[in-house]
């Protein structure tokens, strides 16, 4: 299995947020996580990616058989974990091209692979940007600076395409996208990640993304744990009934 989360407890600023979360993700699967605001969905993404300030107080996580929680954030990235941010961050003065090339080569170096040359990198970057309908001029602009909300989300997907991870945790990648962009991003997720050796954890509030990216499993995260698991039909049920009904 790709990722196994066992009895995960985590606090932020001493406040317990995750309270005994269990989840198993296998290669080749797409999982959706839904849940009310403040339930701890983003927290789960941050804990898995090692964000400082998010403290694990109990439990374990293995990633491809390795102890994920013992790794530094950049080591997790090099091991193939990618987090699509709910709120992508701006880095003034650093172009997307420079940022991604440095990041990718840092990962490659960590894995003992040869770095990509400028020309090799640009070829990959151009392909990925093209597939997601982002023009190269945008890739040369500083990371996310002055990007619209939707452009930032699309940029997260371009980054995912370039980095080519084996596990993608996508935190509300669909929010802020217009109808056409939603389709482009959905297609992108399928193209990049729907492969037998890859796994996606899709955090979302809405069924509309799941129309494009069909999940194998849907989970409800409420009050820091997984309270329900089902197939794609669970998302439709949630959309009809809301979380209140479910919790009862």
């Amino acid at each position: 299995m790709m990722l196994q989360i066992t009895n995960l407890h985590a606090t932020v600023a001493d406040k317990p947020i995750l309270k005994g979360l269990n989840l198993t993700l296998n290669a080749g699967e797409i999982h959706a996580i839904m849940g009310p605001n403040g339930a701890g969905k983003s927290t789960l993404g941050y804990v898995l990616s090692g964000r400082p300030g998010y403290e694990v107080t109990e439990g374990s996580v293995t990633f491809n058989g390795e102890d994920l929680l013992g790794m530094e954030p950049h080591e997790r990235a090099a091991a193939g974990l990618f987090l699509g941010f709910q709120y992508p961050v701006e880095i003034p003065g650093v172009s997307n091209v420079q940022f991604l090339r440095e990041a990718l080569n840092a990962q490659r170096q960590h894995r003992g692979e040869a770095p990509l040359s400028g020309a090799e990198f640009l070829k990959v970057a151009r392909e990925q940007a093209g597939a997601l309908g982002m023009d190269m001029d945008m890739l040369k602009r500083p990371v996310n600076v002055g990007f619209s909300g939707g452009e930032k989300k699309r940029n997260e997907m371009v980054q995912m395409g370039i980095i080519d991870p084996c596990l993608a945790i996508l935190d509300e990648t669909d929010s802020g996208l217009d109808i056409d962009a939603l389709r482009v991003v959905g297609d992108g997720i399928n193209r990049i990640m729907r492969k037998p050796d890859k796994t996606v954890l899709l955090i979302t509030h809405y069924q509309r993304l799941l129309d494009y990216v069909k999940p194998d499993f849907v989970h409800v995260l409420a009050d820091g744990r997984i309270t329900r698991t089902g197939g794609p039909e669970l998302a439709l049920e949630l959309e009809r009934e809301g979380y209140r009904e479910l919790a009862a």
């Binding site: 880095i91 840092a106 040359s117």
Partner: protein, 493 residues
Amino acid sequence: MTDDSAIKDQAAWDAADKVADYEHGWSSDIETDFAPKGLNEDTVRFISAKKNEPEWMLEWRLKAFAMWKTMTPPDWAKLNVPPIDYQDAYYYAAPKAKPKLNSLDEVDPEILRVYEKLGIPIAEQEVLAGVEGARKVAVDAVFDSVSVATTFRAELERAGVIFRSISEAIKEYPELVKKWLGKVVPMHDNYFATLNCAVFSDGTFVYIPEGVRCPMELSTYFRINAENTGQFERTLIVADKGSYVSYLEGCTAPMRDENQLHAAVVELVALDDAEIKYSTVQNWYPGDAEGKGGIYNFVTKRALCQGRNSKVSWTQVETGSAVTWKYPSCVLNGENSVGEFYSVAVTNNYQQADTGTKMIHNGKGSRSTVVSKGISAGHSNNTYRGLVRVAPNAEGVRNFTQCDSLLLGSLCGAHTVPYIEVRNPSAQIEHEATTSKISDDQLFYAMQRGLGQEEAVALIVNGFAKEVLQQLPMEFAVEAQKLLGISLEGSVG
């Protein structure tokens, strides 16, 4: 940006990958010829004699020395400098007599190894290897105090450009040197400049004749090598009417236990329609984590924009020295002359930097632009001190100043001290200042994409300094980007 420039960008990063790791904490074994320790009239005579100087030069030095003895060191800067014992230092050190060389191939391999460790830019190595189409850079290498090699002299001579060590120029072009030496920075200017006049060891002289665009970048690498050797470089660059030159100065120094004094003087003169671009990447030893050791850098750099439409642009990246006291300045005498100052100053641990610029507007319609990026980490203090002065009869002057400070951690300080003296009401002076902290969000975002913490800091800092870095010639920009990262190692987390 076009695709092409993106590829060039990438090529620069490729080159950066190849530059050797920072390892400047060594001292190479080259025989050194010292002047006796201490400073008196005999020291001055010794230096002058060692260099076979003409009588007028010796007299000039002695006059400066007599003046210096009557002066007291400045203490107005926001610096905390322990007293320097001027008698406890050597004022002259030269590698043992070597024949003059025409190319770096002929240079002592030990010295070449030193330069290799310094990571002299790839472009230059390509030029030296004779790579077709490589950009040309002439190197006048100053090893400790004496120029040991000058390359590309022939090509420069064809263009009429004079590029010499200052001691050669004193002998070969006495009239030119006499005409301009001390005209931009007068002998009595300040304590350290006066000291430099008395004991300057060597340095560079450049003259670009009327209408000539210098066919290559001129480049000098300074390096302080001998223990306890004060360094007193002297640089004089004269750009005659309608000429252009870009000059690169790079500095690194090996690790030492005792503080070493450096008091250089740089004089630039731009006549009508002439332009000088002067770039510095300065990476002297800043002292250890407790602030011990390191270089004291008290430099006087000044440009005289004498002619109409003349232009001087200073770009500096300062990452080294225990104490830096440095204000590259422009005296804008010419009508419509232009002064620019682009600076990145990094301080870490216990470093202190007090740097900035002076833009003295005497000419009508003269303009200046100042962009200063200060990055402070550790317990360091980073001060921008800038003066903009507009003379009463200088109509239509404009100045734009932008000072941005970036703080890493909460123990460091950033200070901005603008002095504005406007005596003509038509002047337009704008000053903008910002202070920010490196954000956890940015750091984590970069780390999630695969960068280690220090790489992430380096990347964000480089982004912050971009406006200045892009003013540098590419081979220098690459070096500077590496240096910013290196100098901030261990400053976060």
